[in-house]
């Protein structure tokens, strides 16, 4: 169990968050530096974001961010005037059918992944070692972000091609043979890279691909450990405690570290320490405050945070100079976790698809 945070640590973190909220809201609503989308939106507000938002709690004035606002263009309306001179990327999420949600990014993914890098133990993620990026490619943030993470730590990232939109189509069509063939194709690419003598010690992958890779290696008398991987950064889809316990006990064994993460294109990366048997393999995620905040709120009243240890829906706030997302209701639910000494703010554990969407959503496809 991670040490709990002291009252002083919690207060300092909260003060820092409030100051950050003031800075970011002013930036996005200042006519000189602000984001066109928010400046236009402000015309319909019955409050003045420049004066009335002074702490994190004041963000309730904005109601809830709707991710449908991110569908369609012009995407430039999301670029803050104060950063218009910079080069921009666009990352997409969803989009198997219809128009995907788009987020513009300049440096945020680098900053987020550099912050995440600080949470990785060097013993298992050695500096200067090379990485395998075994996850979704294309117009998603992950490919560039993992590559930057590898570079930031002094290594090179080897990548595979994986199109999750095609995977979702295969599932919806019921083409399970094709799904298996596509997964085999992705794992074939990973096996080739791992066999090519590139001294790969670290890997990003998703739970399903980690299963598939470990199973393939095992069928060939090898293992994750035997091919030299010592650190796995895992994310992209839901992970249960049972899954991570099974993976650690049966596929990884001692000597391989797995860092589960929670996040998406709209936020940075919420990190977790490696789950342990002592703690029943609980996976508790902590957002990179003050740049992103995760709250667990009552299923029936999104204005109310649940008590510690209680379940609720995940609400996300992103606060960076590039992107302001106040109080977005995520498609997930989880349990509110106590602040820890390492992360002196609320966390979330037991993350799984929000019960009202779970039956209709195709999740965990890659």
């Amino acid at each position: 169990m991670t040490a709990t945070a002291s009252a002083e640590q919690i207060k300092q973190a909260k003060d820092k968050l409030d100051a950050h909220v003031r800075e970011i809201v002013r930036w996005h609503f200042d006519p000189e530096t602000g984001t066109p989308f928010w400046l236009e939106k402000a015309n319909s507000f019955k409050f003045n974001p420049l004066k009335d938002v002074n702490c994190f709690e004041d963000l309730t004035l904005f109601g809830h961010f709707e991710d449908d606002w991110l569908r369609g263009g012009p995407v430039n309306r999301w670029i803050p005037k104060g950063l218009a001179h910079k080069p921009w990327y666009v990352f997409e999420t969803g989009g198997t059918t219809g128009i995907p949600k788009s987020r513009v990014v300049s440096d945020d993914f680098r900053i987020d992944y550099e912050m995440f890098s600080e949470t990785l133990p060097d013993e298992f993620f050695p500096k200067k070692s090379n990485w395998l990026m075994l996850g979704p490619s294309g117009p998603r943030r992950l490919r560039l972000a993992v590559e930057h993470l590898a570079q930031y730590r002094g290594g090179i990232s080897f990548c595979v091609d994986l199109d999750p939109r095609w995977v979702i189509k295969l599932i919806k069509k019921g083409w399970m043979e094709h799904l298996k063939a596509y997964q085999d194709h992705v794992i074939d690419q990973a096996m080739t890279i791992l066999s090519a003598g590139h001294d790969i010690k670290c890997m990003f992958t998703t739970p399903k691909l980690l299963d598939a890779l470990a199973q393939r290696l095992e069928s060939q008398g090898s293992s994750i450990k035997k091919v030299g991987i010592t650190g796995i950064f895992c994310g992209g889809t839901e992970m249960t405690s049972q899954w991570i316990r099974f993976t650690i006990e049966e596929y990884l064994g001692p000597g391989v570290y797995i860092a589960p993460t929670y996040g998406n294109t709209l936020m940075g990366l919420a990190a977790s320490d490696m789950p342990t048997a002592k703690d029943n393999y609980k996976i508790a995620y902590y957002a990179p405050e003050p740049r992103a905040v995760v709250q667990v709120v009552d299923f029936n009243n999104y204005e109310k945070t649940v008590e510690y240890g209680q379940e609720g829906r995940v609400m996300l706030t992103t606060l960076t100079k590039e992107f302001f997302v106040p109080r977005f209701m995520e498609r997930d639910e989880g349990v509110r976790e106590l602040p820890s000494a390492k992360y002196p703010w609320d966390g979330v554990s037991g993350v799984k698809p929000f019960r009202e969407f779970a039956a209709t959503t195709t999740v965990g496809v890659y």
Partner: protein, 476 residues
Amino acid sequence: MIHIPILRWGEPYTSLETDKVVHFDTGEVLAEVSRANASLVSRDMRHAQRARDVLREIPIKEVLQRVKKAADLYTDATLPLGDGKQSPEDFVRMQSATTGLPEHMCRFNMKKNHFVLSNMEKILDSLTRGLDLEILSRGWGVESRGVPVSYQAQSPVLGMVLPSNSPGVHTLWLPIIPMQIGLVLKPGPQEPWTPYRMTQAFISAGIPKEAIAIYPGLGDVGAAVLKDCPRSLIFGGTATVEQYKGNPRVQAHGPGFSKIVLADDVVDNWPKYLDLMCDSVFVNSGRGCINCSGIWASRHTKEIAAALAERLGPVEPLPPNDPKAGLAAFTVLGQADGVWADIERDLKSPGSTHVTAKYGDRLVKRERCAYLRPTVVHCASPEEPIAKKEYMFPFVTVVECPEAKILEAIGPTLVCSVITENAKLQRQFLDATHIDRLNLGPIPTIQLNWLQPHEGNIVDFLFRARAFQFEGPVHA
């Protein structure tokens, strides 16, 4: 509270995640079941071949003896259940409490399973058309007329994605172990009882535990079973059947749309067949795919519907331990409401008449469950939207249709009981490929002959008959 673990080739494994199995009426938690994860299933399949190997180490005749012993243990013994024990009466109560099936029907299903296990030798003899079972075991042999034959197992294990609502389906997988093929079972969430009890009976009777794996879990576990077992059975709705149509790895069992046809030469004597029709609709609370959901004739259909309604309409829900209880509860919240809303929508069609309406409301809602009382609908033509519907309770349409059009109009049918002495009509029904099981004559749809295959022969599904020649001694 009893904890039921995952069984990984007989070895109990307690998951960090569990599901509670609750009493449909009282809400009492009866057991906590470990929830498997999909990758655990996939990883375990590396031992699938061992399941067949350990079974083949025992002579097939001896396996059949042990299965016979397992039949008695299943019905009579107190057997281990997770970290507890379960007597036969406990089993009946638990199965009834979670599936909504009245207790006497659970006892009946137990007897049915016992019968199948006890008569396995005869059943396999019929399913294989008299093949020496050693040929299934060895993979080859020589027929009595001196011709070499080979039956090659297509999978060392059979995967089963089982349903919650119909304990009757378990008879389908009982012949698997006797054929020396391992079992990979994903129980229905409300019916973990039969797979566990049968497994314990098998193990206690000397079947190697390494031959059976049980993986309770969510949809991902079912998908893993289908993905990783070269041969599987799955139970589901029409969509499931459609999804796996033409997939040689999967045999999908869905609604039966079973029917009775009263031909023109017999229909004027329809009252003679009223008992047969009632039983076909009502037995086992109408839950089986072999229950009749459509009665077709060219005339007297209104009288037939009225007579069925008079017999079945007054039936009320009774407590599950009442020996007269004929209706099973819908234990999944909102399911009965959904079914009834669907029926009401179809009844708006002017050619459809709800004949049981005068016997009171059909939807009976309780605090934690609901019942649907027997429902008879008259359809003026096969084009009525409700004419070919099937639901999981005693529901039947009586459809008026000229005899010459019936065969084409009935659509896919699992069991068809055709009552006629008209030779031409008998020939047409014999030749019809959209009918699976054909009963010629006054036979209820629910009457099974255990020596006949059910919806696809399991032997043909698991073994491939192929050419085989040999010269000199064969030691395998």
